[in-house]
Each structure stands twice: as structure tokens, then as C-alpha cells.
Symmetry: C2
Subunit: 184 residues, 2 copies
């Protein structure tokens, strides 16, 4: 493998907002030339594909301001802090947003949505064996929870109707997992 | 569907960098309460899963500064401007980064990697029937191009070893497409 590491010379915080934390670092490229890297720091997040015993996925409709569109997504949320256990965060977000408590929670792997400029690592989970309690949304969360048969979700993804990346990745991975279980 | 639209009251550019363009908007929530939205504007991008006639995917190893890690990804790049045709951008990026020119280029759908805070829309393509010319990298691009059998890439994704989101989404969608072609 060729040498690809970039060395940090200095780091400057450009903007420390409510959700966005933007940095600009002076770096040295692998060839020793100076350059800069601008990026967003992120505490990390989780997303969860919740599957009911009836084969339905619990999904959310949410307004996503950067696109001025309502998107369909699986439940997701930020870690409460860098030390929060991702499994605990997944259970918390699922419970708050949908009221669901799973008997099984499988870790699917990580998802980096825009790794050149955004330091957000999303841990993906698959939840099943769901029992339901009450939804507990934050005051400024406006979202609609609904259900869709899992096979319909996969068909909608393949038709290009679900642009959210983490929803595509988690659902297609769960489809592969379920196909494997069926074979065994 | 409940009312979810958010109204823009005013928009402020917080940072106009080389690659990051950060905005903070004053908005009205669906219930009429004021709030703010911080987000990154993005011109848009493309990614391409290139499959050789031998069943191998052309991949890239690249240092991703926000994670201080070398990641494996399919070829991708930004649009030259908001009006660039995504198909033309896909052909350009594929040619520049890998030297490949495809006889077939299928649009797979869009990928939004972090829709709450990042306005990056990635158009995903599947390229095959590849012929090869010379790679033409930008001066500050340090990347290593290599090949992996498509089935191995899928196995690595399912094992959680390829965290890049667009690579997961595009590869799993192509797998579904190829499985469908096989059945016909």
C-alpha cells in the first residue's frame, strides 16, 4: 500500500454551533506539501431497523431541512456523549421515537455517510422481537411513525424511492441476513 | 400525514470554505415556534460501482481525514457545478480516478449520507463493459486503485469491514440487480 497518511500541523475551530462543530486543520499531505482539511466533528450516532413479528419495519417520516423534503428513514439519533454505549443509545432512541423495546438487538456494522468532510460514525442495529410502550419524543421532534412490510421497503429502495443512505444500507444488510437464516 | 414543513425566516452564511459551506437559518417549526437549523450546503456528487467483465469491482483506498483512517470506497466525486449532468460527472470521475470507460452506465438512485445536517445528494451509478485508458488524478489526490471480486466485496460489507455508506448502498443494490438478471 502506498503512503497515504496526512499529518495534522494545527487545528482551528471555525464554528461551534448547536449541532454543527466545524474545524479547519493545516495538514501535510503524504508528499510533504502543506494543505488544509475542513470537516465537521460529530459525537457519533446510531440507527436501528426495527422489524415486528408480523414482518413490518417501523419507519419515520421527517422533514429534513437541508433538502426541504420529508424523508422516510429508520429510527436514528445521536449518542448522548462520546462515552455512551452505542447499544444503550440504540435502545433509548428506539424507545423514545417509536415506543418499541426489542428482545433481540444485533449490531450490523458502521456507516460513514460522507467520510471526506463529516466525522459522523453511525452504528447500525437490527432490532426484533418488539414489544411496545409509549413514544417519548423530544419537544422539537416532529416525526410521524408508520409501518411498512419489509419486502415493500426493499422494493422501494431498489426502485430508488428511499434516498436516505443509512436506511438503504441497514435494510439491504438485514435482507441478506434474513435470506441467510432462511437457507439454514 | 401530519404537517411537518419548516419555514425559513432568514439564512446566514457562517463559513464559506474551500469545500465546506456552512449555514445557520432561523426557521419556524410546524407548530409556529422559532428554532434554528445549522447545515452544510453541497453542490452534489456522484459515485460509481465499476464492474469488470471478470466480475471484479474497481475500488479505491483513500485517507479520510475526519476519521484518520484509510477507507475502501467505490470511485466518487463532486459535481463540477450545480448544472453538471450527473451522468457526465460519473463518466469523468471514473475516467480520472481509475482510467475506466464504461459501455453501460445505469443510474441506481440517490444517496443522502446525513440528511439532517448535510445537503449532499450523491447520485449512484453502476458501470460495466469497461475499457481502460490512463488514470488522471488531481495533484492533491492520493489514492490507490485496486480490484476485488464482487462477491468478496459483498462478503466484506456483510462482515462489517467496509464502513463507507455509499459503497455499501451501491454494492448491495447492484447485488440485487445482478440476482434479478440471473433469474430472468
Amino acid at each position: 500500500m502506498i503512503q497515504m497518511d496526512e499529518k495534522t500541523v494545527s487545528s482551528e475551530m471555525i464554528y461551534d454551533g448547536r449541532v454543527l462543530h466545524v474545524f479547519k486543520d493545516n495538514i501535510l499531505l503524504p508528499n510533504g506539501e502543506p494543505s488544509i482539511r475542513e470537516y465537521v466533528k460529530h459525537v457519533g450516532a446510531v440507527c436501528i431497523l426495527p422489524l415486528t413479528d408480523e414482518g413490518e419495519v417501523i419507519l419515520e417520516r421527517q422533514y429534513r431541512y437541508p433538502f426541504h423534503e420529508v424523508l422516510i428513514e429508520i429510527p436514528a439519533g445521536k449518542l448522548d456523549g462520546p462515552d455512551e454505549d452505542p447499544r444503550a443509545a440504540a435502545l433509548r432512541e428506539l424507545r423514545e421515537e417509536t415506543g418499541a423495546v426489542p428482545r433481540e438487538l444485533h449490531y450490523l456494522g458502521d456507516f460513514l455517510g460522507s467520510p471526506a468532510i463529516m466525522g459522523e460514525r453511525i452504528r447500525m442495529f437490527f432490532a426484533r422481537g418488539l414489544v411496545f410502550e409509549n413514544q417519548k419524543l423530544d419537544e422539537d421532534e416532529f416525526l410521524e411513525v408508520f409501518r411498512m412490510p419489509f419486502d415493500d421497503l426493499i422494493a422501494e429502495i431498489l426502485a430508488g424511492n428511499i434516498p436516505d443512505g443509512k436506511t438503504q444500507a441497514a435494510a439491504l444488510r438485514v435482507a441478506a441476513l434474513l435470506a441467510k437464516e432462511k437457507q439454514q
